[in-house]
Symmetry: C2
Subunit: 195 residues, 2 copies
């Protein structure tokens, strides 16, 4: 019962994710989402309060999945360098997935710049990401791999800034083959900063 409802919600969120990625936040209609999910329009209205509720849930769902993925990748490694590598590797998954996510993510950030509800969800995502970065830096400092001059909290903010900055610039340039370049250079910049 509860299970089914949860599945339906996720089915709709997946559809919304694809629809927004294809068409853009504002262009997507509830009808689009229903079509992508292969259900009728009423279903969406049944499981979500309204359109904004779908989108807020979508942002929460998608950022949480990203975070889980990153966290999982990092937690499997032991040294700071390995963890940093794993982090960057998990972030720069592949052109296809990065494109899909950052298209949607840019839409949401544009919304978030004016709507506190979106900002709040994004902040939660940031905090999760910062935590990953902070732990890596702190470990590296304990190991002696990273400089003790920098502050782990500050560094964690920068790490995410560099990552997002690189992937956004990559997306805007619209050349898949540059994915590797940004991944590599992003890693190098962060490493040089931490050492």
């Amino acid at each position: 019962m509860k299970k089914k409802a949860e599945e339906r919600r996720e089915q709709i969120l997946r559809a919304a994710f694809q629809a927004v990625s294809d068409k853009g936040y504002e262009t997507v209609t509830l009808q689009d989402i229903a079509d992508y999910a292969g259900v009728s329009k009423g279903v969406t209205n049944y499981y979500f309060k309204n359109k904004e509720d779908v989108f807020l849930s979508l942002l929460e769902w998608v950022t949480d999945r990203i975070y889980q993925h990153e966290h999982q990748a990092v937690s499997q490694k032991t040294t700071a360098i390995e963890k940093l590598e794993a982090y960057i590797h998990s972030v720069f998954i592949d052109p296809e997935k990065n494109k899909k996510f950052y298209k949607v993510y840019l839409d949401f950030m544009a919304q978030a710049s004016r709507n506190p509800h979106y900002r709040k969800i994004n902040l939660k995502f940031y905090e999760n990401c910062w935590k990953i970065g902070r732990d890596i830096v702190a470990l590296g400092q304990k190991e002696g791999t990273f400089s003790s001059d920098i502050q782990a909290d500050t560094a964690s903010k920068m790490i995410r800034s560099i990552i997002d900055g690189c992937l956004i610039q990559w997306l805007m340039r619209d050349e898949d083959h540059l994915h590797e370049f940004y991944k590599k250079t992003c890693y190098e910049v962060i490493l040089k900063y931490l050492k």
Copy 2:
């Protein structure tokens, strides 16, 4: 004759800039723009082909102004370090102006991720910014201030990634007082990377 028409266009673009900053790209109607400009609805259609034409012109106009401002600031300094400082200083003008621009810019990037017309204009902006960065790095290397290990072209991409990454993260956090933090740390990261 020609002068008046150009003034009108700019008047409308200024109005559109403010309107988009306040309400967001997709929410803004031609009526809004007319209202902000203090003219009637028909005027906008008289000076621009259609809504998209207004927005494409706006992106071009606003990014060009930003670039001119950055370029002017950097060109007044002589050493690489001074130029870099001036660059960062001109980018991180003040919370008010940064907020206004990045709100609009995020909207346009969201559009650009799906619409090649916007991407093309943004690429022009990128190339201008990269040129500023590249020249600073090259100068620094000639001076011996910056490491010769890095590639000026690569570094210029990273400089802009870090700047945009920082300002976007700052905007999302919605705390004006952090502006100084991101400005300072952004500069430090870039400097450490270049040395």
